[in-house]
């Protein structure tokens, strides 16, 4: 176990991905340790989602490697999928299912059985505040609730590694606050990656930030270091400076 713990939770090395002629992810390397919350920043189409899809084993890299707890994602996909909780972009779920049934389905695939399964689903429903809608079909829910169902699904098995693609997109300010609090509360012993467009989120929850634009990694450091990239210590200015190369006041 000691040797397991000394490994980074996620280690991305020289990752490349092509979609036909499009070079979506170019030679990206970084790693994350348990206890870190990594903010994935970048303009739309920068390659954030594609990178996340490769870490979670949905897409195969065109080049380079991803290791999760030391296991190669391509060679041992089931092992790494067990360790990861993943909220895909847009929080997709089966619209015709009722919230509780959907969570029970995910719990079953996650290997929970019998009373454990029902108990854990009830816990999550409480934790994410889904009590009012458990018997509604997911397609009838508001965007905020749908997103929360997605979050619930991703943390159901208490994963060591949590990857969330825009977890607060489409939520109202109160819901955003709740999700951020949830992420913070879980961050002590997990390695968490979240992608976001909201730079204040980086300050609020992240211990580290990575900026990707046009498939390339442009910045990797703490939020303070990111801020200090701009002359007036502003995180938005720093983002613009790094991604466009020009500082706009």
């Amino acid at each position: 176990m000691v040797s397991e713990n000394s490994l980074p939770a996620i280690e991305v090395k020289n990752l490349d991905r092509y979609f036909g002629p499009i070079h979506a992810v170019r030679d990206i390397s970084f790693s994350i340790n348990p206890g870190e919350v990594l903010g994935f920043l970048g303009p739309n189409g920068a390659g954030k989602s594609t990178t996340m899809k490769m870490i979670t084993g949905f897409l195969e890299p065109s080049g380079g490697s991803v290791r999760v707890n030391g296991h190669n994602v391509v060679e041992e996909p089931i092992k790494i999928k067990k360790a990861i909780g993943y909220l895909p972009e847009g929080a997709p779920s089966y619209g015709e299912m009722r919230v509780r049934d959907f969570l029970l389905f995910v719990a079953e695939i996650r290997g929970l059985t019998g009373s454990n399964k029902a108990q854990r689903v009830d816990e999550i429903i409480k934790e994410i505040n889904l009590e009012g809608v458990v018997d509604q079909s997911i397609e009838t829910l508001s965007k905020g609730y749908k997103r929360r169902v997605g979050v619930a699904q991703s943390i159901l098995h208490d994963p060591e590694i949590l990857i969330m693609d825009e977890p607060t997109d489409g939520l109202d300010p109160n819901q955003k606050h709740e999700v951020r609090k949830l992420i913070k509360d879980m961050s002590a012993n997990k390695a968490i990656v979240i992608s976001t467009h909201i730079l204040e989120e980086v300050d609020a929850v992240c211990t580290r930030a990575i900026i990707i634009a046009k498939g390339k990694l442009l910045f990797d450091g703490t939020p303070e270091e990111l801020r200090s990239q701009s002359s007036n210590n502003d995180i938005d200015d720093a983002f613009r400076k790094i991604t466009t190369g020009s500082e706009v006041a």
Partner: protein, 244 residues
């Protein structure tokens, strides 16, 4: 195995949580009755058998089976749930088999609900029930073959309409490959062996002999290979196409 069962249960839940299941079953029962009594001349034949009933199943399946299979993967791809499912700790093969089995069980339920015709023929006469049982098995196997084709095709596209149309065409070609429609295309230039091979691929030939009450191991093998081949192609298709 547990994963396959979990997927199978979720899929069946999906059928019955939406009108899809009920509409399909009602239409299937209605059309099979219509064909049996009006086109098959069930009463006029004055025979205690179900040939009038089973002989229209291939035609029914040609259109109704792709209607079940078209949504299997197209919908997952369109709604993005494919990403959710394939990042759960299951293999692509688990997902393919689970979804296929759910569709097959569903087709089986629809088929089983035609039992009143079996009761009717037993009430009216003294049919050979082993032939009827064999016919049901043959019909079920044919449904499985068409479903495997349709499942693979639906993995190719996000559009259910395209999946439906292409599945109908491919099922039709497999259905008629033993008839002149397809064989005439090959005669004259293709070697005898190829023509025989194409002819042997016909769903019609194999389903026919089972429906006559003869369960030949070769027919069972034919359908097993047909299903296995298309499901294997289904897995390959998903691996290759899930990104877009």
């Amino acid at each position: 195995m547990n994963n396959i069962i979990a997927i199978l249960k979720r899929e069946l839940y999906g059928y019955f949580a939406t009108p899809v299941a009920y509409v399909f079953i009602v239409i299937f029962l209605f059309l099979s009755g219509l064909f049996t009594f009006y086109m098959g001349g069930f009463y006029e034949r004055n025979q205690a058998d179900l040939i009038a009933f089973f002989s229209f199943h291939p035609i029914l399946y040609l259109f109704l089976i792709p209607a079940i299979s078209m949504r299997l993967w197209s919908e997952e791809r369109k709604s993005g749930t494919i990403e959710l499912m394939l990042t759960l700790p299951i293999t692509t093969a688990d997902a393919v088999i689970g979804k296929f089995l759910a569709a097959w069980v569903f087709a089986g339920i629809a088929l089983a609900l035609t039992f009143p015709i079996w009761i009717t023929v037993n009430y009216l006469g003294d049919p050979d029930n082993t032939v009827i049982l064999a016919s049901y098995i043959g019909s079920f196997l044919m449904a499985g073959g068409f479903l495997a084709i349709g499942s693979c095709i639906s993995a190719l596209t996000k559009s259910q309409v395209i999946a439906f149309v292409i599945s109908v065409v491919i099922c039709f070609l497999f259905y008629v490959s033993g008839t002149p429609i397809v064989l005439n295309f090959f005669t004259g230039w293709a070697p005898e062996a190829l023509i025989n091979a194409v002819s042997a691929m016909s769903v019609l030939t194999h389903a026919d002999s089972i429906q006559k009450g003869i369960i030949d191991i070769r027919d069972i093998i034919y359908f097993s290979v047909l299903i296995a081949f298309w499901l294997y192609a289904n897995v390959i298709t998903i691996e290759a196409k899930k990104a877009g």
